[in-house]
Amino acid sequence: MALHEGALRVKMLFCCRTLHKFASFSGARSLSKHVSSQSVSPKPPEVADDHLIYTQEHFALKEALRKLIDQEINPYVDQWEAEGTFPAHKVFKILGNAGFLGVNKPVEYGGLGLDFSYSVAVAEELGSIRCGGIPMAIGVQSDMATPALARFGSDELKKEFLRPSIMGDKVACLGVSEVGAGSDVSSIKTKAVRKGDEYVISGGKMWTTNGTQADWMCLLANTSDGPPHKNKSLICLPMNLPGVHVARKINKIGMWSSDTAEVFFDDVRVPCKNVIGQEGLGFTYQMLQFQEERLWAVANIVTTMDSIIQETISYTRQRKVFQQPVLYHQAVHFRLAELQTEVELLRSLLYRATAMYIKGNDVTKLASMAKLKGGRLARELSDSCLQYWGGMGFTSDVPVSRFYRDSRLMSIGAGADEVMLGIICKYMDTLPRK
C-alpha cells in the first residue's frame, strides 16, 4: 500500500513535470533572457519587496495553495468535468483545513482577518486550476455567499452558517438571480412573508452555483411591499428544509465541473432570526460586496489567461506548418504579444484597484472597468489562441477549448458587461439626466 502510494507520488512528480511546464505561478513578469528562450517553465518569482501589493506572506500563501491544487484538485479536473460535478464537501474541507476559505473573514469565526489583497492572491492562484468551474464554486463559497453574513449577521447566525462555511464543513450557495431577473436584481419575485416567528418563502432561484450540493443558501427575497431597493432581505436558508426543491442541474456550454441548479421554494418556513442584519437592507448589503466579487473574478482570470498564452506558445512552437513552427509566423507571435500586453494592463488595473480598496477607498468604477475588460479580453484571447491550435483547438482534448467555453461566462455572470458599462457611465455622468 505504501509502495503504491509512493509510486503514485513519484508518478505525480513526473506528471507534474509536464503539467507545470505550462502553469504560470504568480503575476511575475521579470523574465530573464535565459528564461524567455525556454519553451515553458513556471514563471520566476518576483522579489517580494518590488511587488505593488504582495509581501513575502502573499507569496508563501500562493505557494502553499499551489501545492494543494497540484495534489488535490488538478489531477481530478478532467474526471469532474466529464462527470458534470465535483465533490464540493471534500474539496472545500481540504481548502478549509488549510485556511483558504476564510482569508478575509473574522478571526472569531475561524477566518484569518487579513485584508482583501490576500483574497486577491488566493483568487490569482486558483487560476492555476485547469478549468473555470472549480474556482467559480470556491469563489461563491468564500467571497459571494458569505461576505454579507460576515459583516452584518448576528453572532448566532455566524456560528451556525459562517463558521462551518469557513471550515469547509458546510457548502454554501448564493440565491439572488431568478429565471426572470438577473441583471435587474430589484425585480426578483421570490417572497418571504412574515407569519409570526417565521418567514414563509415562495418562489425560485436560478443559476445557483453549488446548488445541488449546498447545505445552506444566502437567499435574497422580498420581505415587504415597499420600494424595490428597500424591501428585500438576505436570509440564511438551510437547504434541507421541507419545501426546498432542487429542480434540476442545468446543462451549460462550459463550467461543466460546477453544478448549477434551479431551485424552487414551496412555502418554506424559516425562523425570522435567520435574516442577516436588518430586514429591508438586503439589496444594499448585496451591492456592497460587488467590488470584491468583481476584482476576485478578474484576479482569477488573469492567471488563466497567462497559462493559455503559454500553452499556445508551447503548442505552436512544436507544430510545424509550411516547414516551420506555427509560432515563427509573424502574425502568430505578434498577436500573442498583443494579447499578453492586454493581460498585463488588466493585471495592473487589478493591483491598482486592490491597493486603493485595502486603504478604504471606493473602487466601484475601477472594479467595474476591470470586470468589463476581463470578460471581453478572455473572449478575445480564447478565440485568437484557439485559432492557432487549428483542428486540435476544436477538440475536447486540449485546455484552450475548455477555456474558450468556460471564459464566455465572464461577460455574463457576476454582473453582465452591460451592467458594468452602466456603472461606469454613471461615474462618468453620461447617463441621460432625469
Binding site: S41, P42, A60
Partner: protein, 254 residues
C-alpha cells in the same frame, strides 16, 4: 535529553523547472529560476513536526546553508510547524562550491552547539543527487545512522528505523543521538496552512556564519564541465526478429 531535533532543509531549483545548462558549461542556470524546498527535506520536516505533535520531542529547529534566499526555505519549514530556524550564511563562490562534506561539518557543529538529540535530513537533494550529507554527518559525530527511512518509531532512548533497500525493507534499531535520512514513503508532507504561514512570521531565524562554527568551506572538488545529456536519437523499426538480432550485432550492442 534535550528533546531537540535538527532538520536540514535545502533550497533547490523547483522540480517542475526545465533545467538549462549555462552557455559556458560551468553549471546550470539559477538566476531568475523558481526555487523551492527539496522534496525530501519537506518529508524530513514533516517527520520532525509529527514527532513533536506526538510529544516525543520538544523542539524542531530548521537549518539551511546558503544565501539570503535560503531564509524563505526556512520560513516554509516554520510554516509547517518547526519552532525556530538557523540560517548559516554561505554566498558567492563559497555557495557555488558548497557540497555535502562542508554541510555535514556545519550540521555536526550545530548538533553539538544545540545539543540535538536527532538530526533528520532528506535522503538526497534533487539537484546534485549526492545522498551523502546524512551519512557524513553521522560519521563526523560518531552517531548511528538510519538512512532511507520509510518508517521511524521512537522507543525510549532507541529508534526503530525501517529502511528501503534494494532487496526490500530492512528494520534496524539504533541508539540516540542519531542521524536519520528521509525517503519518499516516510510520510506525506502537510500543506503549510494559511494560519501557520502567518504565525511563521513571528518565529525566529538566527544568523550564523560557518567560521563561527569553526568550519572551513574550502572545497576539495572542482567542477570541470557540465553538459546536457546526449540528445535522444531516433529509433529504427525492423520487420522480423532476425532483423532485430542482426541490427543489434551490427551496432555492437550484442
Amino acid at each position: 535529553m534535550s528533546g531537540r531535533v535538527l532538520v536540514g532543509v535545502k533550497r533547490v531549483i523547483d522540480y517542475a523547472v526545465k533545467i538549462r545548462v549555462k552557455p559556458d558549461n560551468t553549471g546550470v542556470v539559477t538566476d531568475g529560476v523558481k526555487h523551492s524546498m527539496n522534496p525530501f527535506c519537506e518529508i524530513a520536516v514533516e517527520e520532525a513536526v509529527k514527532l513533536k505533535e506526538k510529544k516525543l520531542v520538544k523542539e524542531v529547529v530548521a537549518v539551511s546553508c546558503g544565501p539570503q534566499q535560503s531564509q524563505e526555505t526556512i520560513r516554509t519549514a516554520l510554516a509547517m510547524g518547526a519552532d525556530r530556524g538557523i540560517h548559516v550564511e554561505v554566498s558567492g563562490n563559497d555557495y557555488e562550491t558548497l557540497g555535502p562534506l562542508q554541510v555535514s561539518k556545519i550540521m555536526a557543529a550545530l548538533a553539538k552547539k544545540e545539543d540535538a538529540q536527532i538530526i533528520i535530513l532528506g535522503k538526497q537533494a534533487i539537484d546534485d543527487d549526492c545522498n551523502q550529507t546524512g551519512q557524513m554527518t553521522a560519521a563526523l559525530l560518531d552517531w548511528p545512522q538510519g538512512t532511507f527511512a520509510s518508517e521511524v518509531t521512537l522507543d525510549g532512548d532507541k529508534i526503530k528505523v525501517v529502511r528501503e533497500i534494494d532487496g526490500g525493507l530492512e528494520t534496524i534499531k539504533i541508539n540516540t543521538p542519531a542521524v536519520l535520512t528521509a525517503d519518499l514513503r516516510l510520510n506525506t508532507p502537510r500543506y503549510a496552512t494559511l494560519p501557520n504561514i502567518m504565525k511563521a512570521k513571528k518565529k525566529k531565524i538566527a544568523n550564523v556564519k560557518p567560521a563561527d562554527l569553526g568550519v572551513n568551506l574550502t572545497s576539495k572538488l572542482e567542477v570541470l564541465r557540465v553538459e546536457d545529456p546526449p540528445q535522444r536519437q531516433a529509433g529504427m523499426k525492423v520487420e522480423t526478429v532476425e532483423d532485430l538480432v542482426g541490427k543489434l550485432k551490427e551496432s555492437g550492442k550484442v
